[in-house]
């Protein structure tokens, strides 16, 4: 191990068990998503009208839905979409919010005032309502969901990063960097950002949970992913009519959402604990 690798290890100390458990769960879903074609026993959208609404049995471990589609296969394939929503759903708000927060906090003054008023307007609407309104305007589809998330989700990151920048721009090492003649952008992204970004990274892991649930909710409302694609929220929506007679169609995708969300949450808590960040 290199000298800096050892140094990093010493700095972090022993890893928190939360990181192992949360990371393990996330890894499990990631493997499932990558290996979906080999793991899923059936085609997720192939209908088998001879075997509809079958309870869990040896041929269909988690049963079949009203079109005879294998629930297990649909959950495995759905992992790809739900995991993607978790990752891409936070990626764009993270990038946009971090940049805006950094510029706003560093330069202050008029730029800050303008960007923060924009932020105030955005957070004055309830999060879900605004997302649903934007998706409803743009029309349904996954890409539109990402656009809506980027337009609304950046505010949390901007606020987190901005407050760190306001403190750090007066830090001694920033003065030292200025005394070496570096440009503002270099100081912002090269020197301050690495020191400011950790709370945002932690937040982004827990934000992924919200995005997964949100993505599923939008699919449930018919605004996200469209049938017959296998997606957990959509599966629950489609199974509503049969909830009294065929519990397995809604229950297993629901459990999948819960387990993925728990994985991300534990991971976020673990990282936060490791870095000594509260909230």
């Amino acid at each position: 191990m290199s000298a800096s690798g050892i140094a990093l290890r010493r700095r972090l100390g022993a890893l928190s068990p939360l990181i192992y458990v949360g990371g393990g769960i996330c890894l499990f879903w990631a493997v499932l998503a990558l290996a979906a074609p080999w793991i899923a026993p059936y085609d997720p959208i192939a209908q088998d009208l001879a075997a509809t609404l079958q309870p869990p049995n040896a041929a269909h471990l988690l049963g079949t839905d009203n079109f005879g589609r294998d629930v297990l296969s649909r959950i495995v394939w759905g992992t790809r979409l739900d995991l993607q929503m978790g990752v891409l759903g936070v990626l764009f708000p993270f990038i946009i919010g971090t940049t805006i927060g950094a510029l706003s906090g560093y330069f202050g003054g008029f730029v800050d005032m303008l960007l923060m008023r924009l932020l105030d307007v955005t957070i004055s609407f309830p999060f879900f309502v605004l997302i649903i309104a934007i998706v409803a305007t743009l029309g349904p589809g996954l890409i539109r969901v990402y656009i809506a998330l980027a337009l609304v989700g950046w505010v949390s990151y901007a606020r987190l990063i901005r407050s760190r920048f306001i403190v750090l721009k007066h830090a001694d090492f920033v003065m030292a960097a200025r005394s070496l003649g570096y440009r503002h952008l270099r100081i912002i992204f090269h020197h301050i950002l690495p020191n400011a970004i950790m709370p945002a990274v932690v937040f982004c892991v827990s934000d992924a949970v919200i995005d997964i649930v949100l993505g599923s909710s939008l699919s449930y409302l018919g605004l996200g992913i469209q049938p017959p694609t296998a997606e957990w929220g959509l599966m629950i929506a489609e199974s509503q009519t049969f909830i009294g007679t065929a519990w397995w169609i809604a229950t297993f995708p629901g459990l999948a959402i819960v387990l993925l969300a728990v994985g991300f949450s534990l991971l976020a808590d673990g990282i936060a604990e490791q870095l000594g960040i509260r909230d």
């Binding site: 001694d172 030292a176 070496l180 003649g181 690495p194």
Partner: protein, 326 residues
């Protein structure tokens, strides 16, 4: 040849109660290879004056309101910001009081030393790293190859200051501004760092401005000294002359306040009173409320540096009477 010539520099801070003049018509200069000490209490304006040279004032409230800063013949106060950036870290280096907080905690020491080389001289990453290791060796970091990969928190205070010096002199500046470089270090390390600075001066002809409140540091290193009080220069002289025969009661008071100046078992000398509020400075000589020799004209008279000899000027109005050789 003078490498730096600061003339009538004034700096003001905007406050709710109106402007506060932290530096008032300060003039000093230094030649190639010269070490100029700027001495004064905390709040006397020495740091603000020196940061004005690089136009790195703390916060948006501080403003240079007058004067000239001629560096290699160019007035830095008129320079556009991009040319100013080229000078910072390029032609003029700066090191700070607290090396623990002035290094980026998340960047390896080697990269921090290499960065100005990449930025100012356009070196490739590997060339810069090679040169950074060389610089770390030069400033006396043991095992520089391995330590280049260390983070600042793994270094001792003295090593951090050495690393900061390595970064500041990486691009071979002509002027180094050292803002209390040894204040945060213990005495033995202090001497090593000062020796290192003098070695760099001897090798490269670097001019150094050494800001300090420690007359012992001045005695050990400087060629010339300027004494600041409440934003003004009180006295300016060649070191030997100043230490032998100060021509300002404030300088004399500072020298008598040194622990070594008092005899064993005797009470330490202190200068009575405190720095005047900069927002409302006393008229006349700013030191008069604390001066044992103050008279009526000290409270109202116009004060200017008066040359007592070619190498010695004082702002004391009564120096002929009160500071005459005993």
């Amino acid at each position: 040849m003078a490498i730096l010539d600061v003339a009538d520099l004034s700096v003001e801070f905007a406050t709710a109660k109106g402007p506060l003049r932290a530096v008032d018509r300060v003039s000093f200069g230094l030649a190639e290879g010269e070490v100029l000490g700027i001495v004064g209490e905390s709040g006397s304006g020495k740091t603000v004056a020196c940061r004005s040279i690089l136009r790195l004032l703390p916060g948006e409230r501080a403003r240079i309101v007058g004067g000239k800063v001629l560096f290699e013949g160019r007035d830095l106060l008129q320079l556009a910001e991009p040319s100013m950036r080229e000078l910072r870290g390029g032609r003029i280096g700066m090191i700070f009081q607290n090396p623990s907080t002035h290094l980026d905690p998340l960047m390896t020491v080697g990269r921090q030393v290499a960065e100005p080389l990449i930025y100012h001289q356009g070196l490739s990453a590997s060339e810069a790293r090679k040169k950074a290791v060389e610089l770390l060796r030069l400033v006396g970091i043991p095992d520089p190859k391995r330590n280049a990969d260390a983070f600042p928190h793994q270094f001792s205070g003295g090593m951090r200051q050495r690393a900061m010096i390595a970064g500041a002199v990486a691009c071979e500046p002509r002027l180094l501004i050292a803002d209390e470089p040894t204040t945060a270090l213990d005495v033995t390390v202090q001497a090593q760092i000062l020796r290192l600075l003098l070695e760099l001066r001897d090798r490269t002809g670097l001019a150094i401005i050494l800001i300090t409140h420690d007359l012992g540091v001045v005695a050990a290193t400087c060629d010339n000294v300027a004494v600041m009080y409440a934003g003004r220069i009180m006295e300016r002289a060649a070191k030997a002359e100043l230490l032998r025969r100060p021509l300002h009661p404030y300088t004399e008071g500072l020298m008598r306040s040194r622990p070594t100046a008092a005899g064993r078992g005797r009470e330490l000398h202190t200068i009575e009173g405190q720095l005047p509020p900069l927002g409302d400075p006393p008229g006349g000589c700013r030191f008069h409320p604390r001066c044992i020799h103050a008279q009526a004209r000290c409270q109202t008279g116009a004060v200017a540096l008066e040359a007592a000899s070619i190498t010695h000027s004082t702002a004391c109005l009564r120096w002929r009477e009160v500071m005459a050789p005993a």
